[in-house]
């Protein structure tokens, strides 16, 4: 392997030792309005390394917030910071950013490889590294065979992959993925989900926007939920779920001695209700899921309660989403 090719290896999964701990992206009381329509209303949030899902219904302001964070639009009020600096003022920061837009529009008359090469060139990648880097990322996304075909002839899934490729080719520290799984077949979806998770584990800051909740759930448990232009919730799904006090978390236990288990749970302060369902499971409700889960192992061991399976029925992303958005 030549020196250039070695240098050009796309270091997906490489953590940046210089990356500041904590907030990488930060929005401070950001608002954006178009005429009389407020798309984002005084929202604040911080995004750190790892994968974060940006969720919201259509028209919730998700795309606007996404573009504000990526520096593509200027907030009407408030500020957006990347590594503590304003992206719109320091375009050089884009070298550390990869952006995969939702829009399907692409320069159809260029080949996939030419497009990636152009994007790398504009990133300031040294000339000898451009070809090898473009080839590596196209191969990684299983597009090597189509690299020399025009993008106009690509399928929807292939176009999506080229968009991903241009966002990742220069090994960015922050990656914005707007609906990255649109139009992909199940195998490709699986590959992209694995890739995103891998990038997140490697310490990259990945912000993924999607309206398909199970997809986000497979990538991360860390979410930002936006509704009517406001950030409703931010953080781990379970922790967010725990904060929704008016809807107790429901936990189902499969046990060989359900009556004893039910009687024990009914006496605990953290449990607000216990019942047996038609499958013979003990269904407990708690207002403090985090405390409940923390205490549970000790209870079971101390009392010698037999439990074969524990299932949380409504701390799924869908349940949290429905509770918060009020569907």
């Amino acid at each position: 392997m030549t020196e250039d090719a070695r240098a050009a290896e796309v270091s997906i999964g490489a953590a940046d030792p210089d990356a500041a701990p904590g907030a990488v992206l930060e929005a401070r009381r950001v608002s954006k309005w178009f005429g009389e329509v407020i798309a984002v209303n005084g929202s604040s949030l911080t995004v750190g390394p790892g994968v974060t899902g940006l969720l919201g219904l259509n028209g919730a302001g998700k795309t606007t917030l996404f573009k504000l964070l990526a520096g593509l639009i200027e907030p009407s009020q408030g500020e957006v910071l990347v590594y503590g600096r304003r992206l719109r003022r320091e375009v050089g920061l884009f070298r550390r950013i990869g952006f995969c837009p939702e829009s399907e529009a692409m320069p159809d008359w260029l080949t996939g490889r030419e497009f990636i090469a152009l994007m790398l060139r504009l990133m300031g990648t040294p000339a000898p590294q451009i070809g090898p880097r473009a080839d590596a990322i196209l191969a990684r996304l299983h597009l090597a065979d189509a690299a020399h075909r025009r993008i106009g002839g690509y399928s929807k899934g292939m176009r999506q992959k080229v968009k991903m490729a241009q966002a990742l080719a220069h090994d960015p520290d922050i990656v914005f993925l707007d609906e990255p799984l649109n139009g992909m077949d199940p195998v490709s979806r699986h590959e992209i989900i694995a890739l995103v998770s891998e990038l997140g584990r490697a310490g990259k800051t990945i912000l993924v926007s999607s309206h398909i909740l199970p997809e986000i759930e497979t990538m991360t448990r860390n979410i930002v939920l936006i509704h009517h232009g406001k950030v409703l919730a931010e953080g781990d799904i379970t922790e967010i779920r725990d904060l929704i006090r008016d809807r107790p978390t429901i936990v189902a236990f499969t046990s060989s001695d359900p009556r004893r288990l039910a009687a024990f749970l009914a006496g605990q302060e953290l449990v607000v209700g216990v019942e047996l369902d038609d499958r013979g499971r003990v269904v407990a409700r708690t207002d403090h899921a985090v405390g409940f889960y923390r205490a549970l192992p000790a209870w079971l061991l101390a009392e010698g309660l037999p439990v074969e399976e524990i299932e949380t029925l409504d701390d799924s992303l869908q349940a949290v989403f429905d509770y918060l958005v009020g569907d």
Binding site: R6, A7, E9, V10, S11, I12, G13, A14, A15, D16, D18, T63, T64, K67, A70, L72, I73, E74, E90, V91, G92, L93, F94, R95, R96, I97, G98, F99, P101, E102, S103, A105, M106, P107, W109, L110, E114, L118, M119, R121, L122, M123, G124, A136, A139, R140, R150, Q166, D171, E198
Partner: protein, 287 residues
């Protein structure tokens, strides 16, 4: 994993070096380079090139049907110059100018440029230069083809005066193309529906105001382009031009010095390019 997943080499650049902005000239050059490649593959280039063959066909017809005494080469050249200056230059500039940046904005592909470490002025200049050069090259090649048709086997036509006039026509058409393309590109960058404005400007303002005598005409690009070819026979070859010349003489108006027209055109080009780049910097797209 195809060699992926490695850590960066130990000699990797530190964060400030990573965040260097690409120089404007380099970024503009690479954008122009890929725009040329893109344009070279599009069918629209062939369509515009086919249109550019129309004056060549006219010249062929002149060779076949024209009488050298009744309709000599320099008069044919004057008519061709007017065809190029008043119509074809505007048409070709409109085709490439409006789409230069406007198409990228309309389709949303400009987002790929916007997320690179380059200034938006570089994007604008790169796309504009690519459009200007392709449009000007098509016009110049078409004029050159007309020259070949006029002169091959017709050596009596080729005098130093004729060649000088021809060269001047090519230069003025190229300059006009650059100016118009810059104007239309700025419209494409700043307006949501640039076509309406461009049509009103090109076939309303430029065409109608050009017919008003006195200084109002000087507010059009076509006036200055015509002024630069005034010394040719084109100035009085058609009835409206003859009439305008007559009116100018009646009003004791001295023709505008050529340098003033040249400076005006260059100034217009620079100003609208600056305006276009500024509009693009302020642009926000939501798709």
């Amino acid at each position: 994993m195809n060699g992926l997943g490695r850590l960066r080499a130990s000699g990797q650049p530190s964060a400030p070096a990573l965040e260097r902005t690409l120089p404007l000239a380099a970024a503009a050059f690479w954008i122009a380079w890929f725009s040329w490649r893109e344009m070279a593959r599009r069918r629209r280039l062939l369509a515009v090139a086919a249109v550019m063959l129309v004056p060549v066909a006219c010249t062929v017809a002149w060779r076949l049907l024209g009488s050298a005494q009744l309709f000599p080469a320099n008069v044919m050249l004057a008519n061709l110059s007017m065809l190029y200056l008043t119509f074809l230059t505007v048409l070709v500039s409109l085709a490439f100018g409006i789409t230069a940046v406007g198409e990228e904005i309309e389709e949303g592909t400009i987002i790929y440029y916007w997320t690179r470490p380059i200034g938006r002025s570089a994007i604008y200049i790169g796309r504009l230069v690519a459009a200007q050069t392709v449009a000007a090259a098509l016009l110049a090649l078409s004029l050159a083809a007309c020259f070949v048709v006029m002169t091959v086997g017709n050596s009596g036509v080729v005098t130093s005066r004729f060649v000088e006039l021809y060269a001047r026509s090519v230069a003025v058409v190229t300059l006009g193309c650059a100016v118009y393309t810059a104007i239309f590109a700025a419209m494409g960058a700043g307006l949501r529906r640039p076509l309406i404005a461009a049509l009103i400007y090109a076939f309303g303002w430029e065409a109608m105001t050009g017919l008003i005598p006195a200084r109002v005409q000087q507010l059009t690009v076509v006036f200055h382009l015509r002024n630069l070819v005034r010394n040719t026979e084109a100035g009085t070859s058609s009835f409206p031009n003859l009439l305008l010349e007559l009116l100018r003489q009646l009003r004791h108006e001295a023709p505008l010095p050529e340098w003033r027209s040249l400076v005006t055109l260059l100034l217009v080009m620079v100003v609208v390019t600056g305006l276009g780049a500024w509009l693009l910097r302020r642009k926000e797209i939501f798709r």
